[in-house]
């Protein structure tokens, strides 16, 4: 969508809390928004990035005999290679995630342009980026999505330079915020769509790792060290701990089984934290627009945490 009309703002700034608006906070909000978009994009890429490991892990586990009466095998879950039908559906799933990633790309551009709009009078760049963002939102939420603001930011007259800058910051913030308000509920509505396949990758990944462990190809010392953390005990010696000891073999297999059950919940929690970041971003936009003190520090800390979560999520480890 290309906005055709141009809004000229004259005295409205005085009525719109511009005088107390902090341009510095608006700039920081732009940085936080870009970080949120980048973190979410990284989150969305994880299932596709782990696709190869998922397929190859199943191929490895499936090379061991299937369980059968009288047969001892390391493929104790009955893993089969991932068939073509499943791979095709997974590709369709990744394509769905790409739609959201495209919205995140447009959001990143809009925040980048917003930072320039706030810093200097880059209305042209902002209006172009905003049109791109609205287009991406319509693609994501549905063509009926209406941010409620159709006018591009135009020249702002009748005010001193600093007030014009604040007026631009307010108008730009309102536009991005309205799009985010449409995006946030749609994003939450897709939660299971985002997390379901990744959860299954993680669950099956533990089955593949259990095969590797049983086959004597892994060293359990890091896992044992994790279990002992905080209890004042350290794992023994420099030698690898492998499945050659039947008791250790069974014990580690049990730990992997429990982790497999718990980790799906971590995936959901990771999504929830990302969704909350967008909710909080909307709140901070409103504060900036109202000339109130925004808690950008808290938002930045949340986004930093989001980055850690994405990293942990890609490794099927707890988001702690």
């Amino acid at each position: 969508m290309r906005s055709s009309s141009v809004l000229v703002v004259g005295v409205s700034c005085a009525l719109a809390s511009c005088s107390t608006l902090s341009v510095e906070q608006a700039g920081k909000l732009a940085s936080a928004g870009r970080e949120a978009a980048a973190g979410t994009t990284a989150f969305l890429q994880v299932p596709r990035e782990r696709n190869g490991a998922w397929i190859e892990g199943s191929a490895f586990a499936a090379s061991y005999p299937l369980p059968a009466p009288g047969v001892t095998t390391c493929n104790r879950y009955g893993v089969q290679p991932i068939p073509q039908s499943t791979r095709t559906i997974a590709e369709a799933y990744y394509a769905e995630l790409d739609k959201t990633a495209r919205f995140m790309g447009a959001l990143d551009k809009a925040y980048s342009a917003y930072a320039e709009l706030v810093a200097y009078d880059a209305r042209g760049e902002f209006n172009t980026a905003y049109d791109g963002l609205v287009g991406a939102a319509k693609d994501y939420i549905g063509v009926s999505f209406d941010p409620g603001v159709t006018a591009a930011i135009g020249s702002i007259g009748g005010l001193v330079q600093s007030e014009r800058q604040k007026a631009r910051a307010k108008q730009g913030s309102e536009r991005i915020r309205r799009v985010l308000e449409g995006f946030a509920p749609a994003f939450r509505a897709h939660q299971r769509g985002f997390t379901g396949l990744r959860e299954q990758q993680v669950r099956e990944g533990y089955q593949h790792v259990a095969t590797l462990w049983c086959a004597g190809l892994l060293d359990a010392r890091p896992l044992i060290a994790e279990l002992a953390t905080g209890y004042g005990l350290a794992p023994l010696g420099p030698d690898p701990v492998t499945a050659s000891d039947p008791q250790v073999n069974t014990a580690i297999a049990k730990v992997l089984e429990e982790r497999s059950k718990l980790r799906g919940r971590d995936v959901d929690q990771a999504f929830e934290k990302i969704a909350k970041t967008f909710d909080d971003l909307i709140v901070e936009h409103r504060k900036v627009e109202a000339g109130q003190a925004a808690d950008i520090g808290l938002l930045t800390a949340q986004i930093a945490e989001l980055r850690q979560i994405v990293e942990a999520y890609s490794q099927a480890e707890p988001a702690s």
């Binding site: 009466p69 879950y77 009955g78 089969q80 039908s85 369709a92 799933y93 299954q200 669950r203």
Partner: protein
Amino acid sequence: MNKQKVLDELEAALVALSDQLGDLLAQTDDKAERRALLSRHSTLRDTYFKALVADLRDFNDTVLVLFDDLKAVRSELDEALEDLRDTPRILRLATEMIKLGGAIIVAAAV
């Protein structure tokens, strides 16, 4: 009624069958039964993945009836998987889950 509830049922059935698949295979030499177990597991996973991707929003009367049946079958499957003695029953229930899940994906898609 929403997509989440459909996904919950399909996922629970898939996880339960995945957890027990190795033990089920370990107790039967019957080739047809073994092939059927692997096939149902794989197809149930495909059904769940298709439901994840599908845009399920039309929860009409037919879908609601199908969903009630899906819940009932899932509950029966859970029960059958607690006691692994009746593989034919487990196979029949897993097949029903796939049929009902597929029908819901078609009937509720917009």
